[in-house]
Every structure is written in C-alpha cells, then in structure tokens.
C-alpha cells in the first residue's frame, strides 16, 4: 500500500489501466467442433480407443445394412423370381416386393375383401379416439374418454363382427387377421385393463381382509406366471368351465386372457399412484362428509391417475408387444400373418424371412417407440408442474 502511494507521489506512473482488459476468446481447441470432439470423444486415452472402435463398428455394420435395406432392395415384382440372385444381380437385398404384395393380408388377414371398408372405418374411429385422448389440449376430453372407453368398443364390435339388422353380414372371427386383430387385442387390453386394474388396486389397499386377500392372490398369481400359460389356460380351460352352448370362440378366449393378464399389471401401477396420495387427503374428504366412492371420484383418483399416466402408457407399450403372443393359441395377428406369408412357396427366397421380420420390427418399433416418447413427454410436463 505504502509503496503504491510512494510511487504515486513521485509522478513516475507510466501506465494506469482504467478499463478491464478485453476478454480473450477461449482457446481455439476448447470451443466449437474441435472442443466438443475433444471433450466428448477423445477426453481420455480410453475414450479415444472406444471412439475408434465404435467408428470401426459403424463402418463395418452400417454400409452393408443400408445396401441391404435400400440400395440392393427389390421394390417391385410379382413372385420369387424378382428376389432371387441372378448373374446380372448377384447381390439381392431386402425383398420389399414380398411385403408390398402381402400388405393387404398383413392388414386385414382373411377378412372378406368386399367388407374391408368396415375395417378401414374401425381404424379411422380408433385414430380419432386416440388423437382425442392423446392431444392434451383437445376440446371436450371427457367426451373423448366416453367415446373411447364406451361408444367406440360397442360400435367397433358390430362393425367388425356384423349386424344383420343393418345389413352388415356376420364375419366369423376365424377370418379376422393381421394388423386388425393386433389392434383389437391391444384395444381390448387397453380398454379393460385400466378399470379392472383400478378395482384390483383398490381391493388390494382395502381394509376388508377378505377383499384384500382375493385381490392380492389374483394379482400375485397372474404376475407370477408367463402370459403364454395364461393364454393356454384361457384357451383350453375356459371351454371346460362354461356350458357347451356358450363356448366362446378362440379370439374371445385370448382376449379374456390378455385382459386378465394386463389388469394385474395395471393394478400394481395404479397402486403405486394411490400410495402417493397422502392419507390427509382421505381424512380431509371424510371430514367434508364424502363417502368412499365420492372420495375416490373427486379427491383421490384424479391426482393418483395423473401422476401414473407415464407408467400406464408404458404398461400399454408392454401390452402392445405382448399381443404377439396370441399367435400361440392359433390367432392370426400381425406377426402370425407375416409368419404365414413367409412360408408362401411363391415367395420362397433366402431373403424373404429377413424382409418380413424387418417390416414387422419397423412396425412394432414405430408404434412402441412413439408411445414411450409420448409417455416421456407427459412425464416431463408433469415434472414441470410439480416444480412450479
């Protein structure tokens, strides 16, 4: 301090900085593409080795894959000749012509050709219902729920199965197939599993020992066994336990199996949501004089279900994947129609199977991935409202 003062009095100041020095840009190597690369790809020697390995893996896998799926793929043709390797075309990629040829079969199964418009209307109704429910700012969403869980199932049943009074001839479920059956199984699972699951979850949290025991036994039993065995049970045992006169058809049996199975899983998801509601909410509702069902309807279920939406949607993704299992009990769902078409001798080539499976994988991936992305976005939205 004193030295500064001393210098000051002698007027020997040469330079006094009056403004801060301009900040220099960060070192060239730590910003932009190079900086990002250094930080994220070559941070440590180990990372550098891993980066090189991954790049080599990409070079090894991606070009052949693109060649197989797109460049060398056969897009048009009417039988196996188009997809066989010839001297002129020694490399044959995916046989998309096979998929194109069978697209109608994959969609409608063996549904009568002149009745396919009925399936189209069913798909359109489903799209309207899903859009209504999934679009969070849609008008009258309550009405949408009524439509999706009430009107839509009933109308679809008569539309697809038939109603002679309205001139819709009966189409036996043995002729149903393809995407349509997959959607029907998934929709039945979705529509039935949520209400049944809520009831089971309430039963499990009930104070009545008998009700609680029944719910716990059912939930743990179903969750403890594979879906295949539940489907087998529904398909071979259900007819035994019903009078021969109303022996249900194959599809109904599988639907019962899927609905029971998914409701047990849904019950656990809903239970987690119910547990998140503080006891004080129940007590406050009691103090206001609300009964059990009124408390549920107005106080407990709305927030409990809202925080559970992402998990419910993820359960639906699982359910959608599980619909592929119905083919074990002889139902021609989407995957089974591909299996059947794959063995069609007019299209027997070395690439037919791969093409069919690739198409199926693309379909299931698109559906499931978009559903889980939607669940994630809802979760983020809920998280935002929680933080506020």
């Amino acid at each position: 301090m004193s030295s500064v003062a001393a210098i000051g009095t002698e007027h020997r100041l040469v330079f006094v900085r009056t403004a801060p020095a301009p900040s220099l840009p960060p070192p060239f190597a730590s910003t932009g593409v190079i900086g990002w690369t250094r930080a994220n790809l070559f941070g440590t020697p180990f990372n550098a080795v891993m980066t090189v390995l991954v790049v080599l893996l990409f070079i090894w896998v991606v070009p052949p894959l693109v060649r197989f799926l797109l460049v060398d793929a056969v897009w048009t043709g009417s039988d196996r000749q188009a997809c066989l390797a010839t001297v002129a075309h020694p490399e044959v990629g995916a046989c998309w012509a096979f998929v194109r040829e069978h697209l109608a079969y994959f969609t409608y199964g063996s549904y009568p050709i002149d009745g396919r418009w009925r399936v189209d209307i069913f798909f359109a109704m489903l799209a309207v219902g899903m859009g209504w429910l999934l679009w969070l700012n849609a008008p009258h969403r309550g009405l949408g729920a009524l439509y999706f869980f009430g009107i839509f199932p009933i109308v679809s049943f008569f539309l697809l199965y038939g109603l002679p009074a309205l001139g819709l001839e009966i189409v036996d479920t043995s002729r149903w197939g393809g995407l349509m059956v997959t959607v029907v199984v998934a929709a039945v699972g979705i529509v039935f599993s949520l209400p049944l699951g809520i009831l089971l979850a309430l039963g499990r949290r009930s104070h009545m020992p008998a009700l609680k025991t029944v719910s716990v036994v059912f939930i743990e039993f179903v969750r403890g066994v594979p879906l295949v065995t539940v489907l087998f049970m529904a398909s071979v045992m259900l007819p035994l336990f019903l009078p021969p006169a109303w022996s249900p058809d194959k599809l109904v049996r599988a639907l019962v199996g899927v609905a029971l199975f998914s409701s047990a899983y849904m019950a656990e998801v809903v239970r987690a949501g119910l547990q998140a509601i503080p006891r004080g909410q129940w007590e406050a509702a009691s103090a206001l004089g609300l009964g059990y069902w009124q408390t549920l309807r107005f106080v407990v279920l709305p927030p409990a279900l809202r925080i559970t939406i992402p998990n419910i949607l993820n359960t639906y993704v699982g359910l959608f994947k599980d619909t592929t299992l119905v083919f074990f009990v002889g139902i021609y769902d989407f995957l089974k129609t591909i299996e059947a078409a794959r063995e069609d001798p007019t299209w027997a080539t070395p690439v037919t199977s791969v093409s069919g499976y690739a198409f199926a994988a693309l379909f299931y991936f698109t559906c499931c991935y978009s559903m889980s992305r939607y669940a994630t976005s809802i979760e983020r939205r809920l998280g935002r409202s929680e933080r506020r």
Binding site: T44, N47, A210, Y364
Partner: protein
C-alpha cells in the same frame, strides 16, 4: 373424548361401516364359493361328456415321444409323462440360469456404457436399448431362429469360430473341458469352495473378520480348491475340441440351434432392460457423494468400490431380480421356435396327447409360481435388511 360415545348419533344398523364391511366380505366370499362350486360342477360335467379322465394317472404312463434336448436320462419308448415333465423343467432352468448370467454381463456393460462420457458410446448404447426394448421378444426370437440360425451354412461349410468352435445350421459346437473321470471330485470341490465363500461373506458382514481378508480367502478357495482337487485326484484336465467328421461334428459341447436362438434372443432382450436398471441405479447416486469421496482423497477405484457401488446396488438389485424373473418367464416363448422347455413339452405335447388340460396347465403355472414367489420372498428379506436405517 370421555363422552364421545354418548354424543355419537345413533347409526342405522346397515349404515354402520363395520357391519357393512362384514356384509360385503360375506357376500364376496359367498359369490366366490358359488362360482367355484358352479365351475367345478360344469367342468366335471364337461369332462365326463368329453370322456376325459381327471387326476394325475397320466403321470406314470409312457410318453412315447422324442425330445431333442435332454439333460437327464430320457427315452421315448420307456420314459413316462412325469419324466418328460422333469426334462422340460431342467431345460427351462438351464436356459434361465445361463441366460441370467449372460444377460447380467450384457446389461451391466450397456448400462455403464450409457453413462459414458464418450458421446458415441453413450448414444450407441442408448440406441441399442431403445431398439431392443421396443420390438416384441417373440419377433426377435423368430428372427434369430428363422432368419439367422436356419440361414447359416450347411454343416459342410461350417463357420470356424476363433478358439476352436463351429457354427452351422445344426447348431453351435464349442470346446468342452474334460476332467478325465475326475469331474465329480472337481465339481464337489467347487461346491465346497462356494459354501466356504458364503460363510466368509457372512462372517465378514458380522465384522468377525476383515472384509479384505475374506475376499482374498474366498478367491483363493474358489480357484485353489477345484485345481487342487483335480491335481490330487490325478484327473487329466484337457480341452475337448469339436471335430468335423464326414457326417457330423463330434466331441465338445453341442448346442442346438433352438437353444442358441432362445439364449441369444433372451440375453439381448433382457440385457436392454437390465441396462436401464443399472443406469437408473448409478444415476441415483448423488453427485455430491462422488465429490465428497474425491474431497476425502479416495482414488477412482475406491470411490467406485466404497461409495458408488454400495449405494447403486441398493437401488439396482430389486428391479434386477424382477428382470431375472421376467427372463425365466419369457423363456416360455421357446414354444415359438420349438425349444423343448417346460411349456413346449408339457403344456404342448403332453397336453395334446393326454387332453388333461386342467391338471397340466395347473402344474405348469404352479412351477412358475413357485419360482416367482420364492424369489419375491427372498427379495423381501433382502429389502428389509438393505432398507436405509434412518434416524
């Protein structure tokens, strides 16, 4: 409070919550009993009409069908349906055991890779998880079996694997370890080593011996005992390499294409789910914990061993067990590709031959239930022990 009963208004009998609770439950039980009796009578009548005997008499009848993979003695001409059941159960347990080990390795690798600071590695792992988790397992099994394994070259052009294995459309052939007759002794020594290891872990947990000493002793025993037993018993330990002969592959460990496809599919599928579990567990360890460990001067390895892993495992293990259970239950999808597991043999072939649906489906479900319930029971004990003791 003292005069509360006096001020309570008179509740009509049917409005008393306790009375209603009892009435509802009585109604529920009555309904269930009525349903059970009704179903039983209907089933009995239906069975009689269809001329199906009930009971487990079929258990001791000769089966008369072949099974492509048997871990225990089985012959189509002399063995019974009961024996076929045990063959199927062993095959299911084999897939479950091998699948769990492999899926754990895949899952932990991918899960750790997802948290890598290397952008490419993290995104590759994320892509793997998204792709595999969003495609149905049945489709993946069919793909591996029909599109990959069945499309492999014929046995004449077998693919030579590094290390002396062969892969062709009849299956996978790997080198096997042969103990030259001393296999039982080595196996027994291995069992003893595992028992000693468990005892050491328990002792270390109770603080009787130092954890480091216990680890060292356990590792020494695990390697030393079997090797020592092999040396003492004079067993000739050798590798048996599969040999390509004119019509087939001889020697070594043979795996059918069904087994290979089922294992591949299950491991890749469950691995993706385990990876998410692992990632969630590792992310659950708060950043501050790692920073505190660094502040204390712990090395990276010590931070991992003493700070991150113990806390992450607490979060990882419960969902990991449910993934193991899922893998075991999903092994029933073997039906799709014809691997002779419990469901394929018992609920498939035996059910078709005997027609005794009720008994067979009940037994199959009981097997899976026993596996699931035992695991959840053990898990509950584990959770109770591991739960954070908060003040």
């Amino acid at each position: 409070m003292a005069n509360a009963p006096a001020s309570t208004p008179e509740v009509p009998f049917l409005r008393d919550p306790r009375v209603r609770s009892v009435l509802w439950q009585a109604l529920l039980i009555l309904l269930l009993i009525a349903a059970a009796v009704g179903l039983f009578l209907l089933a009995a009548a239906n069975l009689q009409r269809a001329h199906i005997t009930s009971g487990f008499g079929f258990w001791n009848q000769p089966a008369g069908f072949d099974i492509s993979q048997t871990l225990i003695d089985y012959s189509s001409s002399t063995s019974t349906y009961g024996r076929a059941f045990w063959v199927g159960l062993c095959n299911t347990l084999l897939v479950a055991a091998v699948g769990i080990v492999l899926a754990t390795i895949v899952g932990f690798t991918i899960g750790i890779a997802r948290l890598s600071t290397n952008w490419l590695v993290a995104h590759l792992a994320a892509g793997y998880v998204q792709l595999i988790r969003n495609v149905p397992l049945v489709l993946q099994l069919l793909f591996w079996y029909n599109a990959v394994l069945k499309a492999l070259p014929n046995f004449g052009d077998s693919i030579h694997l590094p290390g002396g294995g062969y892969l062709n459309n009849r299956g996978l052939y790997l080198p096997a370890v042969d103990f030259g007759g001393g296999g039982d002794v080595v196996l027994a020594a291995l069992g003893a080593a595992i028992a000693i290891m468990i005892a050491l872990v328990v002792l270390a947990r109770r603080g009787r011996i130092a954890a480091g000493l216990a680890t060292a002793l356990a590792l020494a025993g695990l390697i030393g005992l079997p090797v020592g037993a092999a040396l003492v018993s004079g067993a000739q330990v050798s590798f048996v390499f599969p040999q390509l002969s004119r019509f087939n592959v001889r020697g070594g460990l043979e795996m059918t294409p069904e087994l290979v496809a089922l294992l591949t599919g299950l491991v890749i599928y469950t691995g993706a789910f385990i990876a998410e579990t692992v990632r969630a567990g590792l992310s659950a360890v708060q950043r501050g914990q790692v920073e505190a460990a660094q502040a204390l001067g712990l090395s990276r390895l010590l931070t991992l061993r003493r700070v991150i892993i113990p806390q992450a495992m607490r979060v990882i293990i419960p969902p990991l067990t449910s993934q193991y259970l899922n893998l075991t239950k999903n092994s029933s999808l073997a039906v799709a590709i014809g691997y002779p597991d419990l469901v394929q043999i018992f609920t498939g072939t035996v059910l078709n031959q005997t027609g005794q649906a009720v008994e067979i489906v009940a037994v199959t479900m009981a097997v899976y239930l026993v596996i699931s319930l035992t695991t959840s029971f053990v898990m509950n004990i584990y959770n109770a022990r591991m739960a954070l003791r908060e003040r």
